[in-house]
Amino acid sequence: MKFIINREEILTPLQQIVSVIEKRQTMPILSNVLIVIEDDQLILTGTDLEIQIIAKIDIKLATPGSITVPARKFLDICRLLPNGAEIKFEQHDDKVKILSNRSRFSLSCLPADNYPEFSESELENHFFINAGKLKKALDKTVFCMANQDVRYYLNGLLLNISNSKIKLVASDGHRLSIYEDSLDQGTGYEARIIFPRKAVLELSRLLDDADAELKIEFSSNNIRIFIKNLIFSAKLVDSKYPDFGKVFQQEFFNPIHIQKLVLKDALTRVAILSNEKFKGVTLDITPDSLRISTHNPEHDEAEEELIIEYAGEPLSIAFNAQYLLDAVANLDSELAVLTIASNSSSCFIDEPTECVYKFIVMPMRL
């Protein structure tokens, strides 16, 4: 195998691939990057067995072949060569030579046959989506995902496709966020898959070009996303997502309308004196006024009063201030609508007009 490539062409894809490769590996070969030359394309692959990124770069005058080389070392060599340097890559038996100007490197490598790539078979379902749209949906939901929860299905994001509707749901058991959007083309199927946490965070980092069109393929095992010259794959979580539909089927108090910014500022101020761990704040709601108050074990107290639009019985309920702030920060409208369940078991936060984004917080007992 032999090829020559410009440093700038290989550097970015290589960095993207190395970002999934973990420093501590169970198998030595996983710290390597798989390099394949096939049909005038240079194909780089990196995986940690949970996610895999493949980058394809067009290349001319290359001899086909395949090999794996230590990823970090290869990246560092490419990175530290001068801008615009031509890199010559040659394989000699179990060694790889990298030459550029007067620099020469020789890397030991492992055979490509031993590399545990994801299988390349066709996946059952696919749809197309704009990268900006997906990125927005991810941004509005990912922060609700649980982290290392024993209920492992919560350490991920539910992706629900039903014909031309796409719905993303994340929850850590205390709060839940739902984002709905529509696809340009109907898909003609209904599917629910759980995308693991690590894959979601990595994917969100790769979606930097909002105009790109993504092709997403998935089966019950894997998901594969084509982002320009990259192919991102991930294993899915092996479980069913809990049924959260029941939370909608209950009685509610009348909705409360508040200016988003006013609520945000007031909450931030009051939260200063809340219990550091639980961030509990009490909301006393009376017609047209909301009193936010808190106190902490040091007997500090804070209180703030806001004007709201609400017609109904007075009520009192407590929340984690951080959860409310996260929700309010993700609203696009000026006005926030809070709807509290009549048994005080949950609070919905959404926008007055479009209901694409919904956030549900469980109250606290103070």
């Binding site: 070969i29 055979p111 046959d113 994801f118 492992y152 299905y153 350490n155 294993k235 979580v237």
Partner: protein, 329 residues
Amino acid sequence: MTILPWQQQNWEHLCDYKSQNRVPQALLISGNKGLGKQHLANQFAFSLLCAAPQNNGLHCGHCDRCLLLNAQTHPDFIQIIPDEPGKSITIGQIRSLVTRLTLKPQFDSWRVVIVSPADLMNNAAANAFLKCLEEPTERTVIILITDKPACLPATIVSRCQKLAVVKPDKETVFAWLKERNADIIHSDVITLYGLAQGSPLLALEYANDGTLTLRNDCFKAWIDIAKQRKHPVIIAEDWYKLPESPLLFWITSWIVDMIKCFYPINADWLYNPDLKESLQELSQELELKELYKLYDLILVSRQRLNTQINKQTMFEEILIKWLELNLGK
């Protein structure tokens, strides 16, 4: 890539699981050390993971999956062993396994986890494993291997299908050993069979690493103490550096054989048929009751092996007792 001759029946049993589509979620393979349990488990795992297994159920050895298996990079073949030999399998290892199993297998066939030796899981690890062991995610088989099934918590055992690898008969072992090691002489084979308690792999290992010489040296020292030619403390100093578990078994076997020698006995019934005459000679000088006391001490010592006991003192105690026994006649 073959099945050991004495495991043929176990293998057919496993193949039936596969052909009837009734592969259990957890399988406990038990049997003495040196019977090839790990080999059996590996063959079963390979056969489940291979893309095109042969007619007899064995893996093909040349498909993509088998290449990965041979290179030990198959993502759906997970082995859990202690981080250092002799240490326990920790809760951290089990937790990361459980996390790993929450994702789907990489390929569309099975995923196999082998925990070996399962009795080295500490309590916390075993408890953390229960939920996963009972209901692992789809297409996952967990194989536990142990030579001390009694050391496993009942909660683990009750969640597994059991498969016992049994000791083969003498002829099978003799034939197999001769096939593997053509230079071996027949009398050695018989001795090795006794030493390895009928476990062929262990016998082969003993044959190849010169254990027989070492054991003969130890027996000489044992006699030297009885005849008061050597001091027990000096011998204990040499012995505590040797692998203690086989050594303690040898001592046990000598004592057991000496007890047997009190009665008219056929050499075949002894652990050490080659030492029959020396043992008989020794036993004639001894009190049976005292010999049983020494036997009790050895049993206690064997239990203490896995604790932080000072091995030198342990051997001193045994050997001094042995000397006293010989003096007391």
